[in-house]
Structure formats: C-alpha cells, structure tokens
Symmetry: C2
Subunit: 199 residues, 2 copies
Amino acid sequence: MSAAKEILERLAGCPLPEWHLVEPSLRRKTLESGETLFLSGMACPYVYFVETGIIKMIYETCDGDAWVKAFAAEDRFFTSLAALLPGGVTSFSAVAACPASVESLPYHLLDQLGDKHPQWQRALRKGFELYGFRKEARERDLLTLSAEERYQRFIEEYPHIAERVTDRDIAGYVRVTPVALSRIKARIKLRQMEEKDAS
Amino acid sequence: MSAAKEILERLAGCPLPEWHLVEPSLRRKTLESGETLFLSGMACPYVYFVETGIIKMIYETCDGDAWVKAFAAEDRFFTSLAALLPGGVTSFSAVAACPASVESLPYHLLDQLGDKHPQWQRALRKGFELYGFRKEARERDLLTLSAEERYQRFIEEYPHIAERVTDRDIAGYVRVTPVALSRIKARIKLRQMEEKDAS
DNA sequence: ACCGCTCATTAACTCAGGTTAACTCTGACC
DNA sequence: GGTCAGAGTTAACCTGAGTTAATGAGCGGT
C-alpha cells in the first residue's frame, strides 16, 4: 500500500477508482537529512506524499536567510500551489529535515481523474480545502501571536515534529533567529523554575 | 448584472448555467464605514462578493488588538473557509473599512451547482485555488519581509486600497501599531529627502 | 463658533529580538 | 585518541517596535 493511495483515499473518504492508472506515474524518492527535494523557482507540477521522515518547506530571502513555511511529516501531502498553475514555478524550496522518503504524482494526472470520477474530484476539493484551512491557521498565528507564543503553540501542536528537527529549523518556523529561540527557551524554563519554587 | 455573477463567471471563464437558481438566494447588504458584516465565531456558511467599498477581515486577540488578515475591495469575493465546513464557524470578523455594499450566496447552493455542472465546479475549484494562492503570498510576506518592507509592498501592490482606508487599518495589515507605522512613514520620507538632496 | 471625537504624529522610555562573537558539547571521520 | 564541523548556549551591544502620553488636524453635531 502506497502512502499516496492511503492519503488520497482518506481525503476522499472512500476507495478511489482506477488506481492502476496512477501506479505507473508514482515515483518514490528517499532523501538524506538536508537533501533538497526541489528548489524554489522550478517547474514542479507534482503533489508529494510523505511516507517517512519530515520535509521542511522554506523561503529563502536574497540576504541568505531561510524561513520555514511549514513542515510535512508522515502521512501528509504537500505541493506548491503556484507550481500547479499552467506555466507556474515553485515559490519555495523543499528540503528533508531528517532522513525521509516521499512519493510524488504529476498533478495533471490527478486533474484528469478528477474530471472523470466524482470520488477523485472530491479528494482534490478536500485537499485544497485542507490546504487553505492550514494556511489560514498559520496566517492567524503569524498575525496574532508573539514569538514566544508561536514557539509554545508549535511544541504543543506538533510535539512529534518538534522533537525530531533541529532548534535551528524550529526557529525558522517560529520566525526568530536561533539565538533568540535559545533565549525564549531559557525564559520559559526560568519561569517554570520560579513557579515550582513558589508552590 | 450582479457582482456575484460577474465574479463567478470570471472565475469559470465562461457563462454559468442555471443562474436563475441562485437569484432568489442572492442577498445584498449595504454597510456604513465601521459596520460589521459578521463576527468571529459565528455560523456563516456564505460566500461574499464586494460590489462597492472595502471590507476588512480582522482577527481580534483576547487583549483587544485587532489585526487585519486581508482587505477585499470591488470585484473580490471572500469567505471564511472554516465556516464552510459542516458545523464550522468563522475564524475572523468582517467589517466595512469604508461605506460598502456586498452580495452573499449560501455555500451549499454553490456546492450543489458544482455537483450538477462542470462549469460551476470549475468556478469553485478556481476560487479555492485563487484563495490558496493569495494566502500563500500573504504567508510569504509575513515570514520573509520586515515591517517596513511589508508596508512598502502593500502601498505598491494595493494603491487603490491604501488610499481609501485609514492608516490605522494599514498598520493592522502590516502587523505593527499605528505609532510604529507613523515612524516607518517618517523614516521613508526622510530617506527620500536625503536622496533628493544628494542628487 | 464651540465641543467632542477619532486619527495621525511625535517624543521618551522600555523591552524583545537581531548581530556578532566566544564557548561548550556532540558526533563523524581519520 | 585527535580533530573538525555543526548545533546550541550565553553575553554584549544595537536597533526597531511596543507603550504611554501629549499635541495637533480634521470632522460632525449642537
């Protein structure tokens, strides 16, 4: 059973017809930690499915900083929306945050199956919906939370990711420098000690 | 010709069949500046189409701050994705940033028409796609740009909005306080003066 | 004309975060 | 075992943004 099939059928909420049509286009790729899956600015009309490991999606700025847009761990799918549009290119890079293996499918194939079968159409719609939903949450966090709150929320919400990636990458996600993250962690620890002493 | 029809057909790229079915459900509402269209946390499974004016979507934090998620001006549609899911509620409030008039359609109706006609399905898919695309751009700006850069980009990208809303709202969008925005503007003006003097 | 209101600006102060650099720890490799 | 590179921590200094408060401009209502 491929990760792609499992993820897509979970989205559809039912078995997907004509899976044999996608089988030949399914590619699996294993990545070492730090290895690049795709670079920003490339044509890359694929949807990716994480089998094992963690992929980080990063925006690189002209002065060399790299900010983490999102992590995708086991059983997640991801893609660059911008790259799915005809003639489009990726707007970020995807890099393994630890050893990982991913599957990929060309989007045009999913698109075709969507036109043929309502079950596929449903999977795609749900996929876009979920994507939008996650982006909305991320946007809200970036707008309304302080750096410290973003860090706290991240380790609460994604503990299984937090313990497997470097603090450097967590800092990139929280949108602070590694030095600042270290200070934030020290501040939190200090407060916890004080609370213990008080009680 | 309603704004909703115009916007949806532009998304579909073709005329939409059975428009007479949506006509009876189309509601128009005019809002004064500062009037609320819907509040965060409400059931609100509608898609809105801006006919005239500007609507701001805001996140309110528990300590009373209001951050602007996005503006929607003439010929834009918007909705709270979270509120479209069955049993879902809005995750932000929508308020008129200047006198405005909007149309609304219940999402379930669009959903039904999507199941009946590929043209409608296409309009919805394109709608979600566009929504995701915009969210992606906003996320990137918040992650990779400084406050000053976000301000500059905003007035370059949306000059027709920038000149019609208060600096207070622009500050909320740029994610700084009005005081900080005023300083940023002063800084930019100062630099422009210096450049003129030098040349 | 006057009042009261909101908005924008400016200044003074505080503080969180960026920058740089030194230091430690760990693990990989020879 | 020795060495080297990368990750994380800590300190010192600087900058930009939040906070508070005072001031002025514009506007609607009386």
